[in-house]
Structure formats: C-alpha cells, structure tokens
C-alpha cells in the first residue's frame, strides 16, 4: 500500500513539474513573441502583405535580401530590436531604387511579398503602385518651409511632380519672395524613401513611415458627397443609435436661474 502511494506521489509530482515548466516556458515565450511582433515601425519590401499577415507568412529565408541589387534590404538580426529575421530597409541609409523588374518580389517562396500587389491588372509588373510606406514632412524643420529654396526631395522622387508636388505661396515676412513648399500626395507615394535619402537637413525632415502609422482614417461618418466611388465605402457600414434623455426644463429658465449667483 505504501509503495503504491509513493508511486502515485511520484507520478503526480512529475506531472506537476512538467506542468510548471511548460507554464513558465510558455509564458516567457508568449510574452517575448508578443513583444517582438508589436514593433511596427518597419518598412517592408515592395508588395509585402499587411504587417500581421506578413509576420505570419514570412519564413525568414532572406531571398529578397539576396535578390536586391542595391543592398537596400536587410534581415533583422538579434539586437536590431525588430521582429527577428524579417526583411526591412532604412531609406536614410539606402532607399529602395524601384527596379522595374522588382527582383525581390517574385523570388519570395511564401508569397509574403505578394506579386499581385505590384502588378497591373494585366499581370505586368509595376513598381510605381507599390506601397512600402508614406513620406511625411516635418514642416517646422524643412528648410523649404522657412523660405530657403530647396527642392532636393522633389527632384529625388521617382514619381516627380506626382508623389511630391511643389506648392507656391507668398512669403509674407519678406513680402517679395515665395515659399516653394513640397507636398506629398499619399495616393501616389510608394514609400521608396529616395526623398528621405536626399533630404539636406541634418536629420531628414521628410521621412517614410509605414502607411498604417502615417495615414488617418475618416471612418464611416464622413463621405465625399461629390464622389460616387466614395459612397461604396459605406456599403458595409454599420450604424449605432444612441439615445439621450432630453431635459424637460425650458431653455429660458437656465438663463433666468439666478441661484448660485445671488448667494453672496
């Protein structure tokens, strides 16, 4: 009887130890995975899936990195504080030079870089429709906004006068000069980062951010009434009705209410 008890105890102890170890390991592991995949300030190669799907699908083989002829793409190494092993680029160092044959995309074995995202409907590759990010201008530090003439980003942009346009505006400070202000059109900006690479300020005043971070969202409450296509957005919209109880007091009473004022 005693022996079976110790056997049973041993069994329970072993099970408890295994459970404890699995719980400890699982918790640390999950916390780590959750933490490293939360960093979303990364610019992905052209044609990349949405970040969540990209992290699922990328097998971290680095073939896109090897295919890139400009050494733009890097694989995140331990210590880079980025989801480990995934490809990214830093435009201030090396921007994407927008190869017309896009060698980094078709080589991807997992389709985490999706060729349909950089192809026209007829299947022809078109790097100009890629969306790696959106260029954003810091108008306080961009010297063009000071009134100094600089169009480095405008000239560097591969979609010259389409993705970055120059707006002219009178410089009221001097009264006789013009501001030549660069403006990004996010409908066309590919996020290649050639503007960020070309920017003359010490730290770039035009820089590429992932589009989920750079762009807002108007939501379903606002619609361009003059644009037929914009209405289509609302086809799947859901509505929510809120009710507020209306006060029964007359509005004028609140004006005549002298209580509180006459206290003293």
């Amino acid at each position: 009887m005693k022996e079976t008890m110790t056997e049973r105890r041993k069994f329970f102890l072993t099970m408890a130890r295994a459970t404890g170890l699995a719980a400890l390991g699982g918790l640390v592991w999950s916390a780590y995975v959750d933490e490293v995949t939360a960093s979303s300030l990364m610019l992905r190669p052209p044609g990349a899936l949405e970040e969540d799907d990209f992290l699922k699908t990328c097998i971290k083989c680095g073939m896109c990195v090897e295919a890139c002829p400009f050494d733009t793409l890097k694989l995140a190494a331990p210590g880079d504080n980025k989801p480990i092993g995934t490809p990214y680029f830093t435009p201030r160092e090396v921007p994407c030079y927008m190869c017309t044959d896009i060698p980094c995309v078709p080589i991807c074995p997992t389709e985490a870089l999706d060729i349909t995202k950089v192809s026209k409907p007829n299947g022809e590759l078109d790097i100009n429709i890629s969306k790696m990010g959106i260029a954003v201008i810091d108008t306080k530090n961009c010297i063009a906004f000071w009134g100094i003439q600089c169009d480095a980003c405008y000239r560097a942009c591969p979609l010259l006068d389409v993705a970055i346009k120059i707006e002219y505006e009178q410089n009221k400070r001097t009264g006789k000069h013009a501001f030549l202000k660069p403006v990004v059109d996010s409908d066309f900006c590919t996020g290649c980062g050639m503007c960020e690479h070309a920017c003359v300020t010490e730290k770039a005043s035009i820089f590429v951010l992932p589009k989920e971070i750079a762009l807002g969202k108007a939501g379903d409450y606002y619609i361009k009434g003059w644009d037929r296509n914009d209405e289509k957005r609302l086809e799947n919209a859901t509505s929510q009705t809120t009710t507020t109880e209306i006060s029964r007091e007359k509005a004028i009473d609140s004006l005549n209410d002298m209580e509180g004022l006459l206290d003293d």
Partner: protein, 271 residues
Amino acid sequence: MIKNKYLILRRVTQVSLMTLYFGANAFGWDFIIGNLSSSLILGTIPMSDPYAVLQMFAAGALISSNIFVGALVVVLFYGLIGGRAFCSWICPVNIITDSANYLRRKFGFNQIQKKQPANRNMRYWVIALSLIISVGFGVAAFEFVSPVSMVHRGIIFGLGFGWAAILVIFLFDLFVLKNGWCGHICPIGGFYSIIGSFSLIRVKHQEEKCTLCMKCKEVCPENQVLFMVGKSSEQVLSGECTNCARCIEVCDDDALNFSIRDLISQKTKES
C-alpha cells in the same frame, strides 16, 4: 581507412553548405540561395523547413505551393533516406554542441555529473508548446526565438547579437546539461526524430563482434538509441539517432556500421 572519416565528411558538408549560402548573399553565387528556413537549388528545386511550415500553418498563414513542395522535398528526403541526418550533417549548431561535448569528455565532466536531471522527451513538448503559441499569437512562434535560425541566418546575413545565442548554447551544453540543446530541447531535432524514424539508412550493431568497451555509448549524443549494444545484433531504429556515425568511428571492433534498413526481416519479426 581514416579514423575520423565521417567526422571530416560531416564538417565538410556543414561548412561548405554554409559557404555556398554565404556566397549566394555576398557574391551572388546561385547554386543554392536562401538559408536553412527555405532555399532554392539551381533556381529550380525548392526546399523549406517543414517544422517552420507547420508552425506557419498553425499560425493561420496561407501556405504557398512553393513552400509546401519545398517542405515535402525535405520530409521525403529525411523520411525515406537520411533519417535525422539534418542535425549532424547540416545544422551549424551541431558544431557548437559537438565542441561543448568534446570538452566535456576531455575534462571528464561526465564522470562528475553522471545523472542527467532532464528528460529527452522535452523536445516533443516544446514542439507542442510552439504550435499552441503559434495558434494563439498568429506567428510561427519558434522561428522568433530559434537559436538555430539565429546562427545560420547570422552566418549568411550578419550575426548581430546572435553570438549570444551561440555562447548560451555552448555554455549550457558544456556546464549545465550534456547534449542539452540538441538532445533535449531543440524542437527541430524532435521534429526530424519523428520524420526520421522511417528512413532507410540505419546504423547496424553486430553483437558477436562487440567487446563491450562502451566507447560508442560514451560518444553518442543520443545514447538511449544504442540500448542493444552488447545485447543483440540489430539495427538502430530509433528516429532520435542522428546518423552522425560517431559510434562507428569510435568502435575498434567493427561492431557498428551503416546499413540499409532491413525491411523484410523486420516484417517477419513483427509477425
């Protein structure tokens, strides 16, 4: 015959494969591109890590036909022919753990610490855990912590802090647990153990030649698979055998050799 024939062959395979991968990235060689997670031979034959693909599937990723075929190629190769040969013939971490194990033997740590406080089935639990976390967090969980990937990716694309992973595995295997990483924890090894149980290339023991010196058991990184040594003549059929041939090299009596799985006598034994 050279005494360490297989050891030299294994190191040549490991180093030349890593060199080819490195050259593909650094100089644009195109014999084999990618890394051990997924690669492409001569622009035609895809190969993918089946365990990584399994985790991706658990995470809910769409599996492209390319990596599905790639994983199949790898599973068929190791499953039908090589067994768990990935671990001792391909994986660069094997060089690290082998050197830790070599030092352990030289310094006699194994005599001091005879009892191993850990269970070798841990790796199968790590596989289960990795799949659960992959489902829960929607990413291939082990691929984000894998020191194996850190090492081969580091060799090919730049190490970063990956040297820390190398150091940790080395110290762990040297001081904490004999064959700790490759023989207890690594789920890739566990995965190939499962696949490799069916393969054709097997080490065979001939009991009548054995003089019971037990050198093979001392040198074997998975010595539980050599349970038959000195007891009966049979093939090492456990998938946990990595076909590293260390036992063959160390045997002075020619009692251990590679063989082709004996499918027919196996069946008569079962019936």
